[in-house]
């Protein structure tokens, strides 16, 4: 669960059948409205930053010395070659409000006792899935494994979370991978190296000026 504010450093690894790629990024978030993402490596993209303010996404490219507001048509495009779209950066959905939950059993993952919870989106909810099956650690309430189904109950994606560590004062999984069901040898992995929660971020931080100065 996101806190009021969070800052994190992580590696995003995109794995494809013929290639893979790693990015180191730093993120700042405040609530659901503001976010800033700075790319630290690879060298070519170092300094590239994304700013989410409200409903807008801005992109700063040092090589061009220009910030560009991403037009809506770009929202469907993948974000930096990952399995995320630009839209994922700005999308809001609430697990509590948008789904109908039901317990459907329990199991054990990596030695941890888990609840199995089925979540079905409410009819009006803007959620692509037909059903999610979440495996939640009974003790620390960590989401360890999630299956994403479409409306025909066909498995689309699988999320695995592991490497549970204490970070920023919380116990969180630091290794998260998302695996599409129908595309072999393809996944996206997030590896958190540092997370800080609820460290106040000044209001002037989530601005275009700040984005240019991040380096």
């Amino acid at each position: 669960m996101r806190g009021e504010t969070s800052q994190s450093e992580l590696i995003i690894r995109t794995v494809r059948p013929t290639w893979q790629r790693e990015m180191t990024v730093k993120t700042w978030m405040e609530g659901e409205k503001y976010a800033m993402i700075l790319i630290k490596s690879p060298a070519k993209e170092k300094g590239v930053a994304f700013l989410k303010r409200d409903k807008e996404v801005w992109n700063w490219v040092p090589a061009l010395e220009r910030s560009i507001k991403l037009p809506p048509s770009m929202m469907t495009q993948s974000w930096m070659g990952t399995d995320f779209t630009n839209d994922d950066l700005v999308k809001e959905s609430s697990i509590v409000e948008d789904y109908v939950h039901s317990f459907s059993g329990d199991t054990t993952i990596n030695g941890r006792q888990c609840y199995i919870i089925d979540m079905i989106p409410k009819p009006e909810a803007a959620i692509v899935w037909g059903k999610l099956t979440l495996y939640i650690d009974k003790k620390d309430f960590l989401e360890l494994h999630t299956k994403f189904y479409d409306e025909d109950e066909e498995l689309i994606n699988t999320m695995n979370a592991s490497n549970i560590k204490m970070m920023g004062g919380r116990l969180i999984p630091t290794y998260i991978e998302m695996i599409p069901a129908d595309k072999p040898n393809q996944k996206t992995v997030l590896i958190y190296s540092n997370v800080i929660y609820n460290k106040p971020i000044p209001d002037t931080f989530f601005t275009l000026q700040q984005m240019k100065k991040l380096n």
């Binding site: 809506p72 469907t76 839209d87 700005v90 803007a126 479409d150 689309i156």
Partner: protein, 408 residues
């Protein structure tokens, strides 16, 4: 009067050799049938193309805010739309029109996402303008009272693994640039011949889309069908005059490719009519030349008796014209009859072209349409062609030297 007796002679000459006259009459008839059939064929093809573009896709005219089409920014609604609609209602040349709300966005399912154009329509009105319901291949289409219904093309549905009744998430921005995501259910799957276009466009109810975009009874696009295809330019000009701030485009502006194809086809048919008329003319020249040579003695005698060359010339010309005039109504009737049959049953071109045209799911049927508007011109062309071709034998006739002609 001399003219009368010459016409009389010409008319009786026609009946001297019935087989020959029948050949000319039937050549004229066939020439005309050919010409008219070619025209009906092309009219059928063009109407098919034209009607698809006008009646199923772009309509005659479209009106937008002057800046809307730059980026499809939803804030550029058509201003003062009440007034515009009122003024359109007063135009007698306007048949019907339909408002649309348009948003650029994205359609997502569990399978993936795709950039699309979301078109908010008034279902009844849209069906009247673009026959929307006839395009629906699966599902019932929009149903009153149900919210967030979606019509999606077969191509996109297959790509996104969508079925009738399944859910898709549409994401778009409203007029304040807020990003909106909402779930819609496929109420139908539509299909047209224009797959590239299909893949980009989904239909939702205008009411639904307007509420997401925070629009009242406003809209971005007004598609207008006119009573008459020929009025497009006039109405466009007068609307432009009345509403200088709006972008008023005709189908030709929106789809110049269609105009290109239609015009190219139109021009071909002209070339081939010319060739057919040439073939007809050579037939007439030959047959009439025979007639003149056969009668050279008689013509020589007429010249000897003192009938001047102009009158002999006129006589031969009259003969041909009379034959043509006999052939023309026959041709028109036959052509009309043939076209009538094929118009009803369709002409399967693939059998003739020897190609399987249904490869891409296209229909290979042509429904020829009788070109009433061109019939006078066509008759005139045949008449002129036959008159021109009778010039050769007529000149041959007046060049006859009576002494020589009489000796034969």
């Amino acid at each position: 009067m001399t003219v009368i007796i010459i016409i009389q002679m010409a008319w009786r000459n026609i009946w001297r050799n019935k087989v020959r006259s029948m050949i000319i009459i039937s050549s004229v008839a066939i020439g005309l049938v050919a010409g008219l059939f070619v025209l009906s064929l092309y009219k059928g093809i063009l109407e098919d193309r034209f009607r698809t573009v006008i009646d199923k896709e772009v309509s005659h005219l479209q009106i937008h805010h002057a800046r809307f089409k730059e980026d499809f920014d939803p804030k550029y609604i058509i201003p003062n739309n009440d007034e515009l609609i009122k003024s359109l209602g007063h135009l007698s040349s306007v048949k019907i029109f339909t408002p649309r709300t348009i948003a650029q966005g994205m359609l997502a399912t569990g399978t993936g996402s795709s950039g699309i154009q979301i078109v908010g329509v008034d279902p009844e009105q849209e069906d009247r303008v673009t026959s929307l319901n006839s395009k629906i291949k699966e599902g019932d289409g929009f149903v009153n009272g149900k919210k967030n219904q979606l019509l999606i093309s077969k191509k996109l549905a297959d790509k996104m693994h969508l079925k009738v009744g399944s859910k898709a998430i549409l994401t778009f921005i409203d007029k304040e640039s807020n990003i909106i995501s909402s779930a819609f259910r496929a109420a139908g799957i539509y299909q047209t011949d224009n797959t590239p276009r299909d893949e980009r466009i989904v239909f939702v109810k205008q009411k639904d889309l307007n509420s997401y975009l925070s629009l009242d009874d406003e809209f971005h696009e007004l598609a207008i069908l006119l009573q008459n295809d020929d009025d497009v330019e006039n109405v466009q000009a007068s609307l432009k005059n009345q509403h200088p701030n709006l972008q008023i485009e005709s189908w030709m502006d929106i789809s110049p490719e269609t105009k290109l194809m239609i015009e190219t086809t139109d021009q071909y048919s002209l070339i081939f009519i010319v060739i057919i008329m040439l073939a007809l003319s050579f037939g007439i020249v030959n047959t009439m030349l025979m007639a003149v040579l056969e009668r050279s003695r008689e013509i020589g005698m007429l010249l000897a008796l003192g009938m001047n060359r102009l009158k002999v010339f006129f006589m031969i010309l009259t003969e041909t014209v009379l034959l043509t005039i006999t052939g023309v109504p026959m041709g028109v009737l036959i052509a009309w009859f043939i076209v009538l049959i094929y118009h009803r049953h369709g002409l399967d071109i693939s059998a003739l072209g020897g190609q399987a045209m249904s490869e891409f799911g296209f229909s290979s049927m042509i429904y020829p349409a009788f070109p009433w508007e061109k019939i006078l011109g066509e008759m005139l062309i045949v008449l002129i062609a036959s008159m021109l071709s009778s010039l050769v034998p007529a000149i041959k006739a007046i060049r006859l030297r009576p002494v020589e002609a009489l000796q034969k």
